[in-house]
């Protein structure tokens, strides 16, 4: 069980690195926003596994808040892109 938890942490960390790669090389701003959304989903998963590993249920509240913030950030970026504004990809 411990091994599986550590393995999940490792896989999620590699996924975070891949997301960062897309955020750096992403050719346009929407690509980076998509990478940011996936990154916060991965963070929700990592918080869940950490709550499991440390037997602390209150970390799940943090996961709820992170999911909420990521949704608001994505909607905000979409509004910003659609309404226009100075973009510097």
């Amino acid at each position: 069980m411990q091994i599986l938890t550590h393995l999940s942490f490792a896989i999620l960390s590699v996924s975070m690195v891949l997301c960062f790669v897309r955020m750096v090389i992403g050719p346009s701003l929407p690509d980076r926003v998509v990478a940011l959304e996936l990154l916060s989903m991965i963070i929700v998963g990592i918080i869940g596994i950490h709550a499991l590993q440390s037997d602390e249920t209150s970390f799940l509240d943090v996961a709820i808040v992170v999911a909420l913030m990521s949704f608001l950030a994505t909607i905000g970026f979409a509004r910003f892109l659609e309404r226009g504004g100075r973009r510097d990809d």
Binding site: R22, L29, V33, V34, L38, G48, I49, L52, I75
Partner: protein, 146 residues
Amino acid sequence: MIELLQGLLLLAGSLFMFVAALGIVRLPDLLTRMHASTKGASLGVMLLMAGVALHFLEEVVFARTIAITFFVLMTAPVAAHAIGRAGYFVGIELWKGTSKDELRPNYNPLSHRLHSGLKKTARGAETDAPNDGGSESGKGGSDTRA
């Protein structure tokens, strides 16, 4: 037994997340990247939360994990729709192998107007001229494409 199930759920969830991250790096344009990331990430979060709920086996944790899952399932499609729409209107370039873009012939990027093909066939050629251009294009263009 329940530990094995829980470990399998955790592993499957993180593997789906990994597939989503791999897709976001490897796929060619914005829409295909979103197709990889949204579905893979929401299924990954679902499986991970199921594993967490199996580990604790308490009502409070069930409520929280179901809340997280429900929230992710509600918001991921909305966010993907918003960012995909914004990306299309901003003018990202699609993959060169894209075989069908049904919005392109019916959408006027200058006036930010969408006219349906049905209306055009029903009412004939008279709707063509006022629809795409003239006074509308200058105002709409400066409004939406600043």
